[in-house]
């Protein structure tokens, strides 16, 4: 009896929800949105949310491919000049027209946002001069050939000159200046609690399926799932792996998942001639030299990891074994690279050849609140290493502690992750594997200090090639050099999962963004 009653209540509640709020939708987000100023904080959750209100010249489809946004077309005129044709008849939310002046204003504002903890100037810095040909044609001059300019422009949201002049970050947060061209208009921003948007009736891209969209910040994953189960929200992002099995068997809900641009990998500290921190002989005595400088040791430590087991047991299928920085099919990836095959016997042999027949001891360091199941992955790797005679201890810590120490190279073996925002392999290779030379923007995040002159040469040449097809072929070649040499140990690509109530369909995005534009009613 009780069960029937309960079922009846659920049905009635569901009907009431569909009847009353057919055009309104609520979405549960994991991470807080720190500002409504699109140029204040270069942070994925902010960039994702602000795409509803502000648009860039170039947009990305769910697979990360560039597509026309406020610009209809773009092309390089010569090695140092790019020309963008702007979309005509686009209006900001206040009715004022969008022209090249707004683009100029935006690019001037980006490097000058006070107190910005992470600026968008990275994307606008290569531009040394802007030329407005007519209100709908604009040219960007760069000092050096800059092939990633279109990809950079996909990260810079265009604001209105009329409303943005003299506006501070606080004016954007209050909504006064939060006036863009996007499919949704600003209604309310309550930091760390909720953001409310309403449809922009004059949107150039056509009518949106939702009248209002409410984003709720539900950082606790159990609370987020409960909100979906109770019908308080119709979609949540980042479904915790432990709830995926339950939700996928429940007819009232849908899961949408896709492999993302984030790779989980290991950097091996090769900065020193002698042994790196926390790497010793098994009896605790110091090693003669740095074992990680030997390609055979790096390869042994890579093939000793059973990636399939990690992905099935720990990640519950929510990861794909990795062979490089981005999954197959993304620009600049190589088809010839396959995830290293699990082979403990070969690993032991390689260690013996390198002069460590009895292995050695190391400590695996990793964060415990940054990546999906990060601490568990570190523990699994340690167990695999015990099978090849390497004694591995595990030490994980909150990311607030971890990343500062990792950057100071206080660890020997570091578990890390990297999301490639440009969606092509070149930028990741450049930042993580090129020889460390931050003054020239090379190897900025190369915490392993891996250095390979042959690879550097091929990569540098590739990054200066303007022709897309040729450049990506060269980047793929560079990737083959560096991953056959095990410059770093790729573990897996994370999958992201969104949960929706039945009747809603989400087109899962490789950049992990949660966009109301990609959420559709399934009927």
């Amino acid at each position: 009896m009780l069960r029937i009653l309960r079922a009846a209540i659920v049905v009635v509640a569901a009907l009431a929800a569909t009847a009353a709020g057919a055009k309104d939708v609520a979405i549960g987000l994991q991470a807080a949105i720190t500002s409504m100023d699109p140029h204040y904080h270069n942070l994925s959750p902010n960039n994702s949310l602000l795409q509803h209100v502000f648009e860039a010249l170039i947009l990305r489809d769910p697979q990360g491919k560039l597509m026309p946004g406020l610009a209809t077309s773009w092309r390089p005129i010569d090695n140092l000049t790019w020309e963008f044709k702007l979309r005509q008849n686009v209006k900001f939310h206040d009715g004022s027209p969008f022209t090249a002046d707004d683009v100029v204003f935006t690019l001037k504002r980006v490097p000058n946002v006070p107190n910005s903890p992470s600026s968008f100037a990275t994307f606008t810095k290569p531009i040394v001069d802007i030329k407005v040909i007519d209100p709908y044609t604009i040219q960007f001059k760069t000092a050096e050939p800059h092939v990633l300019l279109p990809s950079d422009m996909a990260s810079v949201a265009i604001v209105s000159k009329k409303n943005g002049e003299g506006a501070t970050t606080a004016d954007y947060n209050s909504g006064k200046a939060a006036i863009g061209t996007g499919p949704y208009e600003f209604v309310e921003y309550v930091p760390n609690s909720r953001i409310v948007l309403k449809a922009n009736p004059g949107y150039w891209g056509g009518k949106q399926p939702w009248d209002t969209v409410t984003f709720k910040i539900l950082s606790n994953s159990a609370a987020r799932v409960a909100a979906l189960l109770s019908g308080d929200v119709q979609m949540i992002e980042t479904v915790p792996t432990s709830d995926i099995a339950n939700l996928s068997h429940d007819k009232r809900f849908h899961l949408a998942s896709t492999v993302t641009n984030r790779v989980i990998y290991v950097h091996l500290n090769q900065s020193t001639e002698g042994p790196p921190p926390f790497v010793t002989a098994k009896d605790g005595s110091a090693l003669q030299k740095n074992p990680f400088r030997d390609s055979r040791v790096r390869k042994a430590l890579s093939i000793a990891i059973n990636r399939d087991a990690i992905d099935q047991r720990i990640m519950e299928g929510m990861a794909v074994p990795a062979s490089q920085m981005l999954p197959d099919g993304f620009p600049g990836t190589s088809k010839n690279l396959k995830p290293p095959k699990y082979d403990p016997d070969a690993a032991r042999k390689l260690l013996a050849e390198a002069g460590y027949p009895n292995g050695f001891a190391l400590t695996i360091f990793g964060p415990n609140n940054r990546y999906i199941n990060d601490a568990k992955i570190a523990q699994a790797i340690a167990q695999f290493y015990s099978r090849i005679g390497v004694d591995a201890k595990v030490e994980t810590m909150p990311s607030s502690v971890y990343f500062t120490k990792a950057t100071k190279l206080e660890f020997g073996y570091m578990l890390l992750g990297w999301g490639t925002e440009s969606m092509e392999q070149g930028s990741g290779l450049r930042s993580l594997l090129a020889t460390h030379d931050p003054a020239h923007g090379m190897g900025v995040n190369n915490r392993g200090r891996y250095s390979n002159p042959e690879f550097d040469k091929v990569l540098t040449e590739a990054l200066e090639t303007m022709d897309d097809a040729k450049r990506y072929a060269m980047i793929a070649h560079a990737a083959e050099i560096v991953f056959n040499d095990t410059g770093l140990i790729p573990i897996h690509y994370e999958k992201s999962t969104w949960g929706t109530a039945a009747g809603y369909h989400y087109a899962a995005r490789a950049d992990q963004y949660t966009l109301a534009m990609d959420l559709k009613p399934s009927r």
Binding site: R6, I9, V10, A13, A32, T34, S35, Y40, N42, L43, P114, N115, S116, P117, S118, S119, A121, T122, T169, A170, N173, V190, P191, N192, S193, R194, K216, I217, L218, S219, N220, A222, A223, A226, A227, L229, S230, G231, D232, N369, P398, S399, S400, V401, Y402, F403, T404, K405, T407, W418, G419, E421, S422, S427, S431, P438, A439, G441, V444, N445
Partner: protein
């Protein structure tokens, strides 16, 4: 009384300075906020710019002096993450936490003292035993688990109460409160109950123990022998005499409820200061951590002061202010 208040004030000021110094050194020892704030794809120039923009390029001692100078002008600095005055961020969220804490405390008092009295007066009865067994559950069940069970039962299964967030608010003396609207009460019910549960169990046990002890005292027997009514014996002779330890505990617990409502706030996505503190610690947002702790220290000072005053009202033998007491 005035001298007493002044001395209290001076002590609290020293506590505030010492506490902010601790936070400065602590955050400095944990890590570099720029590592977490700056986009990983940024280059070295961008990192240097962000470090300078947040004032983190100066030596620690100088950073602390800059902070002290600002604090004297009532400026506790801007949040690294949100770029708004840190104190504003805390004060915006304080009403939500205070409301939750007060509702939980009122709930705990309103249920705890009567239930504790019943259990103390009839320790052997079925009712008394049930209350005591229930209080053990209140003590031993972890808050986060109870919170999730409440959500599963009342939101997911029954659909009676919303699972998260704060409801509609109205202004009361300029402060947004939600307990005056139906929607607000619906949102408030589960988090308040969840937060109250532990205090409730504590008050039941305290009241019961106090009542049992008082009932054996001579003055209670004497009052009974005098033929006073049962309600007067319990209400005046028993209750008033066991109230001092209870008031102390309520005062202490109120402070800790405000400061540590974090678990409940994060499970119910309650937009209060506890959640803000956790997020700020994870992001090493030092100005917010300092501002939050300053406010909490202040609240503790005020509550302790209020408890002292209450003592003197409840027990005429207690006098405030030590040496100056003779003047009264």
């Amino acid at each position: 009384m005035v001298a007493y208040a002044l001395r209290r004030l001076g002590q609290s000021f020293l506590v505030l300075v010492a506490m902010s110094l601790l936070v400065f050194v602590g955050v400095y020892a944990i890590g570099n906020p720029v590592e977490l704030l700056v986009n990983p794809q940024a280059d070295a120039i961008e990192r240097a710019r962000a470090t300078a923009a947040l004032g983190l390029d100066k030596p620690l001692a100088e950073q602390f002096l800059v902070f002290l100078r600002g604090a004297l002008h009532a400026d506790l600095g801007h949040s690294f993450v949100y770029n708004v005055p840190a104190i504003q961020l805390v004060l915006q969220r304080l009403p939500a936490t205070l409301e939750l804490a007060f509702c939980a405390t009122v709930l705990a008092i309103a249920l705890g003292i009567p239930l504790g009295l019943v259990a103390g007066l009839r320790p052997k009865s079925l009712v008394g035993r049930t209350i005591m067994a229930g209080s053990i559950l209140g003590f031993s069940l972890p808050t986060f688990w109870v919170g999730l069970v409440l959500i599963m039962v009342f939101s997911v299964e029954l659909g009676w109460l919303p699972p998260n967030g704060r409801g509609e608010t109205v202004l009361l003396f300029g402060v947004p409160v939600s307990f005056l609207t139906v929607d607000g009460l619906k949102h408030l019910a589960m988090p308040a109950l969840n937060l109250a549960l532990f205090k409730l169990a504590l008050l039941i046990r305290l009241t019961r123990a106090g009542a049992r002890e008082a009932l054996l005292q001579d003055y209670v027997r004497f009052a009974r022998a005098k033929g006073l009514s049962a309600s007067r014996v319990i209400g005046v002779h028993v209750l008033k005499n066991i109230l001092i330890p209870i008031v102390t505990v309520i005062g202490l617990e109120l402070g800790s409820v405000i400061a540590f409502a974090i678990v409940t706030e994060s499970i119910f996505a309650w937009p209060g200061t506890g959640k803000l503190l956790i997020d700020s610690i994870n992001q090493l947002d030092r100005p917010v951590i300092v501002a939050y702790l300053m406010v909490i220290v202040l609240i503790f000072v005020v509550i302790n002061f209020a408890v002292d005053v209450l003592y003197s009202l409840l027990d005429p033998r207690v006098r405030l202010g030590g040496a100056t007491a003779g003047a009264h």
